[in-house]
Amino acid sequence: MQPSLKLKDDRTGRYLPVIYPEEIPFWEAAKQRELKLQRCNSCGKAWYPIGPACPFCFSTDFAWSPMSGRGTLHNYVIYHKAWTPWFEKRVPYAVVQVQLEEGPRLTTNLLNCPLDAIRIGMPVEASYEDITDEITLVQFRPAKAGN
């Protein structure tokens, strides 16, 4: 995978994430339907946003590590205003922040969940959405019972 500075998909008009060089392992894992974040080899903590050093102990010795994909819904808001034509067809939609079991919080969407069923504290699990041939977003969905 290569870094990408493309902001919008020419075909669909959907906004894309910028792929920064040091974030490539995250995007490559997502394409394989796996959630990987950096985990510190000194203090053992995982962190987000992706960055060159552990924000907890400032070590630069880390490994890209699989996360469990399990977490709880920590926060959500519901967009009614559409910022671009692509979003006009999607409002109202929710943007959520998920707290992973490992600690970091991700800003993401909750798939397969009606807006009125969203609750802070609900268990969620990672899900994946291919948005172009190259890019897969890490998304979340309500956790299946027993997980």
Binding site: R14, P17, Y20, N75, V77, Y79, H80, W83, Q97, I135
Partner: protein
Amino acid sequence: MTEVARALRDKTAVCGTGLLIGDYPDQTPLSLAVEAYQRALDDAGLKREDVDGIIMLSFGSDYDRFLEAVGTDVRYAYQGWSHGRFVAPMLQHAAMAVATGMAKAVAIVHGRRRKAYGQTADHEMWRQGLGPHGESPAYGALGPVFGAAIAAQRYFHMYGGSNVDLAPIAVAFRKHARLNPLSVRRDPMSIEDYLKSRWIIEPLRLFDCCQNNDGGACLIITSAERARDCRKPPVYISGMQGVHAGRQFHNLTLPGLGVAQQEVYKYKPTKEDLHAYQMAGITNKDVDALITYDAFSPLVLFGLERFGFCGPGEAREFVKDGRIEIGGELPVNTSGGLLSEGHVIGWNLFIEAVRQLRHECGERQVKDVNIVQYGSFLGESVIFRR
């Protein structure tokens, strides 16, 4: 508190202001900045030769282009990132430059059009590791308002309440704006009108958000001694403290709310969090009016709790029953704020502090006002005294 901080109390002052708010379709960021500068010089009774420092934020014209345009050479030039939270630091840098003799008078100048070349902030949303208000465009987390909406949601989750609790803020500031001839939004607003306004990002409505408009602003800072020789009464800078930043201080959020990577706890300011009061030799009980950053209404709750005007989770009750209105216990944003006077990044909030302390506010004048605090949710503050 350091000796220097004590020594700088009331040693610098605002001596001139200029402000333009509204629609200026035939102007550019540069011409709005120049006009604001001319107005501030005139307000102070100074000539451009008297100004030897310039500070700008990089939204409109850059400082070098501006100085070429106004034919002024300075010995102190500085430019920062144009976000509301950096207006207070610009004023503080100006005061420190004057206090240390790096400049005799510093003009802080701003000009901006809603749509103009060379000033767009759109690409900030794609910044590495989320945008400056937490934006993440691929997930539809768009616009600065996102930061305020996620903070408001967490606040309501922790302390109870809902969007309805924000209505008294929007309504109070609209009342203030109706007493201000410069205001952009002047229609009367009731709680019912507020509740009828459309959702932008739930839990925030249209009337929880400031609008976008053109504007220009200038404040001139000089020594207290020189300010006393200017045309208008000096407004002294008594105390100040900076923008607090880091993982615990997400933008548009109070610490402790658990936005992004913040810890979750009930925030109460410590003594260190209130340096500006110590520098000014006051407590928050001495503050006659509070000016706080209000691009979005929840920020007012956070500003009140940040400086201990009320305890954790108590601001949503505090803002009711006219308490934050002119004539109330603690008048807040007496100009109408960004929500109703207009969006001049925050420069207009500081200019309102000056106008109040000069007793220039006519119908919206806070009676016997002596001390006005600018204090915002990220902790940046300037305490002004007449």
